[in-house]
């Protein structure tokens, strides 16, 4: 008989997630992923001024704040018919660049690294590096005063945990350094974005802050510090771990899943030219030796609600989604819906982007035996952080050039006022993966609003055909020798960088039907 265990809450992620698994002979044989919180962001937008949407949807997630704001204004730009001046596009790219650098770094060091380290190995450090000895003193002090929160308690380290004291101590040092580096990366975004978290200056039609030369120089100067850290610390840590002590996990492809990948594409390298830093595309049933990328067609997206707490309906395109809560539905187990592309579950995020781009660094790792899975996801984050850092330099240079031209523009002032009616769609590739927003405007108000976010794709429950979502599938077969210590489960789940507050979206309570489900 399989033994069923529940991990609730799954911590060090954004939002509220519960994972149920069944274990037989030390391996996962079945899995269910449940989003357990809902706010009804799309519902509350109904009847509001459409321009509010970018501000409100930014609050879908406070970790990836800028991404919803940006995707939302892309949908609004589309509905308003706004043409974004090159200056506006560059500023949007730069604030997103800062988001990428901070987000990936924070994910690796603060949300996931503790799954791969035996922190107590620090006590064995024999070297005499002054900074590392300070880390050792610090940790020993915490242990002696019997207060090692929040670093403990934890799942117990297993055979895959890095125990080499030199590696562990430098990783913990970098955990601490990265706390400041991620904050500084975010402050780069605030130079143009106004403040962070939750930027202010991104609006339909472009941007609100006419930059000055000093701000660009300030951004560039802060970027130098980030580049040094990304190249010499973050990227080299990920590669040293991934191809060193974690190579066994990388070679078994722990947490592979369905091997279908989707990228919407984003970040024009030299706006207004359309060429993208991250290209769009779809890969079905990946063959790593012969990667076939199909063009992305948004009409092939549908959402199934069979196993989610919404009234049943046929799978629909998100622009037509019509769903109502049903908290008492027997077979349902999540607030997350089940999006599918061409009827298939997809993985979105850094691994999908780098596969679609056929990134040479990733392909080299594949040659060395790294299989798509948890370790490859961490590697892809580090690879693309470097790409973004380099692109930020180009965008700074182009911005300086543009802003010294007469008539420099950041906003399409002609399309600020709300049209009587309209429809718009926005597609984006934020750090966690493919993001789409859809808006419908009637009588100058929002009639319908919809978002399918990266974690909706990855954290989805089963669809109407009973096919598991990507988290669920990626857990099948992974080793869990001790049911009280399911460390491999959280490793796999965290490798996706879940954002559950994002994943849950509720639509259409026109009839106020929710009242039926009052239990208090």
């Amino acid at each position: 008989m399989p033994k069923k265990i529940t991990i609730d809450p799954v911590t060090r992620i954004e939002g509220h997630l519960k994972i149920d698994i069944e274990i037989e002979n030390g391996k996962v044989v079945n899995a269910w992923s449940s989003g357990t919180m809902a706010r009804g962001m799309e519902i509350l937008l109904r009847g509001k001024d459409p321009r509010d949407a970018s501000y409100v949807t930014s609050r879908i997630c406070g970790v990836c704040y800028s991404v919803h704001q940006l995707c939302s204004v892309y949908a609004l730009d589309d509905a308003y018919g706004a043409q974004i001046p090159t200056g506006g596009s560059l500023l949007r790219n730069l604030v997103m660049g800062a988001q990428y650098i901070y987000d990936h770094m924070l994910h690796f060091y603060h949300l996931t690294a503790l799954d791969y380290l035996d922190i107590m190995a620090i006590a064995e450090y024999k070297g005499n590096d002054k900074d590392l000895l300070a880390v050792k003193d610090k940790i020993i002090h915490l242990v002696k005063t019997n207060d090692t929160y929040p670093l403990t308690p934890r799942y117990e380290p297993d055979e895959f945990c890095v125990k080499d004291s030199d590696m562990v101590i430098s990783a913990v040092k970098h955990y601490i350094d990265a706390l400041s580096m991620q904050a500084k990366a975010r402050n780069m975004g605030a130079i143009f974005g106004g403040r962070q978290p939750h930027y202010q200056s991104i609006v339909v039609g472009g941007f609100t802050q006419l930059p000055d030369i000093n701000q660009v120089l300030q951004f560039r100067n802060m970027l130098d510090e980030q580049k040094k850290f990304v190249d010499e610390v973050y990227f080299s840590d990920v590669m040293a771990f991934g191809t060193g002590p974690l190579m066994p996990l990388a070679k078994i492809g722990l947490g592979g899943g369905h091997y279908n990948y989707l990228s919407y594409g984003a970040l024009p390298i030299k706006p207004p030219k359309k060429h993208l830093l991250f290209p769009a595309g779809v890969i079905k049933n990946l063959d790593p030796t012969n990667i076939v990328v199909e063009p992305f067609d948004q009409n092939k997206i549908t959402e199934s609600v069979k196993y989610a707490w919404y009234k049943n309906s046929n799978p629909l395109h998100p622009s037509k989604g019509e769903t109502k809560y049903d908290l008492d539905k027997e077979e349902a187990y999540s607030f997350v819906k089940a999006p599918r592309y061409d009827g298939m579950p997809m993985e979105v995020g850094p691994l999908a982007r780098m596969l679609v781009a056929k990134n040479p660094t990733l392909l080299e790792l594949v040659k060395q035996g790294v299989k798509p899975g948890a370790v490859a996801r961490h590697a892809c984050r580090a690879i693309e952080t470097k790409l973004v850092v380099n692109a930020c330099y180009q965008w700074c240079d182009q911005l300086l050039e543009e802003m010294t031209k007469p008539g420099f523009k950041i906003h399409d002032n002609e399309h600020w006022e709300t049209p009587d009616s309209g429809q718009g769609a926005g597609f984006y590739e934020p750090p966690r993966g493919a993001l789409g927003h859809w808006i419908e405007i009637k009588n100058k108000k929002i009639k319908n609003y919809q978002a399918i976010v990266p974690s909706t794709w990855n954290a989805s429950p089963r669809c109407e055909k009973g096919v598991r979502g990507q988290y669920e599938e990626s857990l099948i077969g992974i080793p869990v020798p001790d049911p009280d210590n399911p460390i491999n489960v959280v490793r796999v789940i965290r490798s996706f960088d879940p954002c559950l507050a994002c994943a849950i979206h509720l639509i259409d309570p026109q009839t106020n039907e929710i009242k039926k489900f009052i239990v208090e």
């Binding site: 060090r12 900074d131 300070a134 400041s180 991620q182 975010r186 507050a501």
Partner: protein, 328 residues
């Protein structure tokens, strides 16, 4: 000890705390002694903190983790004992829940709450298979102080406009004072200084009628705004592309500065780097109990103030004499 945690060590932190305390009207000796004693006490003596997340976006956590002076690492590892925080803690599942129960049982912790509480149906926010409201009630009972961070935990915020009956902590916990740090997200300075105030005095700071510390929320943003002179002249920004209008008043773009109490305009955000009004967007009223619903539409003036000002400016035919013009 070398300056391991960024640019700050324990002594620097005490110095920083003393400066904060001086600003709060406390004697430096008090601070250094009390905080020093607290920090040097056996069994670490660090103040235990439980940080709960309800209907949240983690934006307040991220905001707090963005503090650089002092750096977040110094606070998390040196100043407080962060027993429970879903986004930061190493533990998960039953391991994390065990810590929560033990900490609640021993009492005397600071409770920080992020996110609103659904009241229509407990199932809209479940953690470890329990309704969030139940967890909050249990944690509040033994808390030494309760701090609601951000608009959602303070007054319901954006989720309050939605269908889940989202409420702030003060609507659930009625028998204890709740300190509301109500901007969306919480300003990291507000949170760090409130924690330090409590550690030093063991008291709740003086609050306004909406439960916000007066030391941060005494003045209207409008009264401290650097664009105020343009407001008085009726010069209202119409076009973000025009360098001449760059510093004009943002009322016509829906700025809620005249309705909002917070020190954002003088403190600014992210180590003084920028803030909502300086970047040309305007204030959205996030610190007010009526946010978000009462502030919508966010990007247009619904009070008629902008129209009046423009009319007046036209009648008075204001000419700006002291403005530089390009010489051709």
């Amino acid at each position: 000890m070398s300056s391991l945690f960024g640019e700050i060590n324990r002594r620097d932190f005490l110095k920083y705390s003393a400066i904060t305390a001086a600003a709060l009207g406390l004697s430096q000796t008090d601070v250094v002694t009390k905080l020093g004693e607290a920090m040097a006490a056996p069994r670490s003596g660090k103040a235990p903190v439980i940080w709960l997340e309800g209907q949240d976006c983690a934006g307040c956590t991220v905001s707090f983790a963005g503090t650089l002076n002092p750096p977040a690492a110094a606070i998390i590892l040196d100043t407080i004992s962060l027993r429970y925080h879903e986004t930061i803690m190493a533990a998960a599942g039953h391991v994390s829940e065990k810590v929560l129960h033990e900490t609640v049982k021993s009492g005397g912790y600071v409770l920080v709450v992020e996110g609103s509480i659904p009241t229509v149906d407990g199932r809209f926010c479940m953690v470890a298979d329990r309704p969030f409201k139940e967890i909050l009630l249990e944690c509040a009972a033994n808390a030494a102080a309760i701090i609601a961070v951000g608009a959602c935990a303070s007054y319901g915020g954006i989720p309050a406009a939605g269908p889940t009956g989202a409420k702030g902590v003060r609507d659930i916990i009625k028998n204890k004072p709740v300190i509301n740090l109500s901007t969306c997200p919480v300003h990291p300075d507000h949170l760090v200084a409130t924690i330090v105030y409590f550690l030093v005095t063991n008291k709740v700071p003086p609050l306004d009628k909406d439960g916000r510390p007066l030391m941060f929320y005494r003045e209207l943003i409008h009264d401290t705004c650097r664009r105020r002179a343009y407001f008085e002249e009726g010069l209202l920004l119409q076009d973000w592309n025009d360098p001449e209008q760059k510093n004009w008043c943002l009322i016509d773009k829906g700025c809620k500065g005249p309705d909002t109490y917070s020190d954002c305009a003088v403190r600014r955000w992210n180590d003084g780097l920028n803030f909502c009004i300086d970047c040309g967007a305007g204030c959205r009223g996030c610190a007010q109990p009526t946010f978000y619903k009462g502030m919508s539409p966010l990007y247009s003036d619904k009070t008629g103030l902008a129209a009046d000002l423009k009319e007046k400016a036209k009648r008075r035919k204001i000419k700006r004499k002291l403005v530089g013009k390009e010489v051709k």
